[in-house]
């Protein structure tokens, strides 16, 4: 017993007191900033470098829903592209994930896009069912980490549950494979209404690098409007948590 107490004491308090303001390392790639004076030649070069067509060849904007955060555009064109370590990049609208040149303000979610029942019903308790549909297990591990002793998402009454019947919504990771598409539909139908859909990771939001693979079946994503988009490869626990806090108005 004394041994255990000593260990706990040795580890000290591990939880992050303020999940809004937790510093992350300098190199973490979060919200990009694109120089307003970017030239057409630079845009073309960046769009060519981008492995996932996340950069718009017309105006140089980055679509965070496609971006794999590989950083290659910023490494090649450091004057024009730069990834800040701001992890608050989740959004309620798909269009809001597009960062345009000169846009330097932090991203704040569009509250008007939130259905009124979401905050009314789930603000004090949100139970989620996670469905990995071709996810590579990095987003899944980050979601699991959101509930761990450091991030402790449970402090807000938010947790992952073992059955869709107990859930208020689903969190989807992965590009949605054909082989998982039916299970995903069944799971969604099994969640009682009203319910939310949260897409986590570039693969879930756009298909990412898997776009075009015949092994995908993205019908579900195309037919349902997501309540929250959480970009990343994988999405950082802080991106996910802050996104949910914004969604619920916490």
């Amino acid at each position: 017993m004394m041994k255990e107490i000593r260990i706990l004491k040795d580890h000290g308090k591990q939880y992050i007191p303020d999940l809004r303001k937790q510093p992350v390392s300098e190199r973490f790639r979060g919200r990009p900033v694109i120089s307003s004076g970017i030239s057409a030649a630079e845009i073309e070069r960046a769009a060519t470098i981008c492995p996932v067509d996340a950069i718009d060849g017309r105006n140089g904007a980055i679509d965070l829903g496609r971006c794999t955060f590989c950083n290659e555009c910023a490494l090649a064109l450091p004057e024009s592209y730069h990834f800040t370590n701001d992890y608050r990049i989740a959004a309620t609208g798909r269009e809001d994930l597009i960062i345009r040149p000169g846009q330097a303000d932090p991203l704040r979610i569009d509250e008007t896009a939130i259905r009124p029942e979401v905050r009314k019903l789930f603000r004090r308790s949100l139970k989620l069912r996670q469905v990995s549909a071709g996810g590579d297990n990095s987003c899944e591990m980050e979601l699991a980490a959101s509930g761990n002793v450091n991030f402790d998402l449970g402090r807000y009454g938010i947790e992952f549950v073992a059955s869709p019947r107990h859930a208020d919504g689903i969190v989807i990771t992965g590009p949605v494979t054909e082989n998982m598409s039916e299970a995903l539909e069944i799971c969604y139908r099994a969640v009682p209404s009203p319910k939310v859909i949260i897409l986590v990771g570039t693969d879930a939001i756009s298909g990412g690098l898997f776009t075009g693979s015949p092994a995908l079946q993205r019908r579900f994503i195309e037919h349902h409007k997501a309540d929250l988009y959480v970009p990343g490869n994988p999405a950082h626990p802080l991106t996910f948590i802050n996104g949910i806090m914004d969604l619920l108005g916490l």
């Binding site: 996810g135 590579d136 699991a144 059955s163």
Partner: protein, 506 residues
């Protein structure tokens, strides 16, 4: 008959011309595999089939653990040729390769006892074979019942279906149906021709093994493109690989503790894992090391500051981890759940072709860092840890020992790195692969042996890309481990292997 029956290659060495790979008669091919695998120090790392010049070409790669060579040979046939004789009855470890070939190309293997679907790829030979009609093994009896779990599981994990046949609480048989995660990734390596796209694909084969798979790919490309990398970069890659191992092993220790409701072990190890992956993030901006491994160079060369940070964090992590695992693995209530649970015998592990931790926890010394050294392991000898009992306890303890060993390796590697001449350049994305060639690359990820191989055409384009995650073999070991166990012990058995769904499903 005078030509040798195989071509020998070293891990990560220059590729061979496709024409240099001996093409054996079917019978001779069969006998060669059997003869080679009769030697316990040999095991098959890859066996697959592709359409090559209108014929089916079967390429088999058998690794000799004693001499560090990979023996490559092939045979060919037409699609409508008579069925092949299955190797599985004599060499059970070949079962998964033959099943895969059967599923992809429709080739029949006569005498294969378990010729079932593997992952339901989109371009499978038999489109009528669908997820819903998987031919599960069944036992007719009024005494027995079946339990189906998945594809979606209770926790935040990947999908797969487990079908148990139980006698009361006791599991008689477990069959694991996978394929839900199939993204067509091998095909994407052919379709997505840009170097950067392929690097990112490799890192996403299994995101928990971004370094292991990323390195296997980079090594393969470097071999095919004739790129030499400097010693410092080789050391950095090994450091990253060991950090990945440490982070996952500590995370698994947390998960195992959580499964037996030992919260102290769970929360402390979760926090320790965070410290390790945050250090990886400090190094390269990503907690899983995505973006760190690239062919020919690095965007994030190690610096003295990063090396110091790694050493500081590791020192603290290892000290605390030793303390807490000292508690976990002496607590009777934990040991009661781990000891003699989910035992895989050495014989079972060998026959199913188990690799990595699954093999080393039952006394089989299988570790490509030692037997087929790559990168700086060619100069830095690793002595793998092995345990004998093959149960959950052995797999848990192996992690404890490997964390310590890896931390020691990292210290040694950083010393070597400080002495090395540092000329790490930018990654190379503009290269030309050697035409008409075959190359193979092995790495030892935290789960075990990872194998990537590729074939190029006369223009140097990749026409076939084959990935083998260690899980491909080890899923069968899990199925065997739970036989005659209480079904309630399945979660700890499963966690103790922690196999990859996406790495298997590709």
């Amino acid at each position: 008959m005078n030509q040798p029956s195989y071509k020998e290659l070293k891990n990560g060495a220059a590729p061979v011309m496709i024409t240099e790979i001996p093409v054996l008669e079917n019978y001779l091919f069969h006998e060669t595999v059997k003869d080679l695998l009769a030697d316990k120090s040999n095991h098959c790392v890859s066996y697959y089939c592709q359409v090559y010049s209108g014929r089916l070409k079967f390429i088999c790669c058998i690794a000799g653990d004693d001499n560090g060579s990979i023996m490559i040979f092939s045979h060919e046939m037409r699609k409508d040729d008579p069925p092949l004789k299955s190797l599985t009855p004599d060499c059970p470890a070949m079962h998964i390769f033959e099943r895969e070939i059967h599923e992809n190309q429709g080739v029949k293997f006569e005498g294969h006892p378990w010729l079932k679907p593997v992952r339901y790829p989109t371009d499978r030979a038999d489109r009528l074979s669908i997820m819903d009609n998987y031919p599960f093994y069944q036992i007719e009896s009024e005494e027995l019942h079946e339990v189906g779990v998945g594809p979606i599981h209770a926790g935040v994990i990947e999908p797969g279906h487990f079908r148990f046949i139980c006698n009361g609480e006791k599991v008689l048989h477990l069959e694991i149906q996978l394929g839900y995660q199939h993204r067509g990734i091998e095909k994407l390596f052919i379709d997505k021709t840009e170097a950067l796209q392929q690097c990112i694909l490799a890192e996403n084969i299994a995101g928990d093994t971004a370094i292991g798979h990323g390195l296997a790919h980079a090594q393969l490309i470097e071999s095919l493109a004739g790129i030499e990398v400097c010693e410092a970069l080789q050391i950095e890659r090994c450091i990253a690989l060991e950090m990945e191992r440490i982070a996952i092993h500590i995370g698994d220790t947390a998960a195992l503790s959580g499964d037996v409701a030992y919260q102290l072990g769970q929360v402390t190890c979760e926090a320790l894992r965070t410290m390790v992956i945050n250090t990886t993030q400090y190094w390269c901006g990503n907690r899983f090391g995505k973006g760190l491994v690239r062919p020919g160079g690095s965007n994030y060369p190690l610096t003295d500051k990063t090396a110091d940070e790694i050493l500081t964090v590791l020192g603290e992590v290892v000290r605390r981890y030793e303390n807490v695992t000292g508690c976990i693995y002496t607590l009777p209530s934990v040991l009661g759940r781990f000891e003699d649970i989910g035992t895989v015998t050495g014989q079972q592990a060998r026959s199913t072709g188990a690799v990595g931790m699954a093999a080393r926890s039952c006394g089989i010394l299988r570790d490509t860092r030692m037997t087929h050294p790559f990168q700086y392991y060619r100069s830095y000898r690793v002595d793998p840890v092995t345990l004998d009992s093959g149960d959950v306890l052995a797999r848990g303890m192996l992690r404890v020992l490997e964390v310590k060993a890896s931390a020691d390796i990292i210290r040694g590697l950083i010393d070597a790195w400080r002495r090395s001449e540092k000329s790490v350049g930018k990654p190379l994305y503009d290269y030309r692969l050697r035409p008409d060639s075959f190359a193979i690359s092995l790495t030892e990820g935290w789960r075990g042996e990872i194998c990537h191989s590729a074939v190029t055409d006369s223009e140097g384009n990749i026409t076939h890309y084959k990935i083998k995650d260690p899980s491909q073999h080890n899923w069968m070991a899990l199925a065997l481990a739970v036989r005659n166990q209480e079904i309630s012990d399945f979660p700890v058995c499963n966690k103790s292997f922690n196999l990859s769904y996406c790495g298997h499903d590709l």
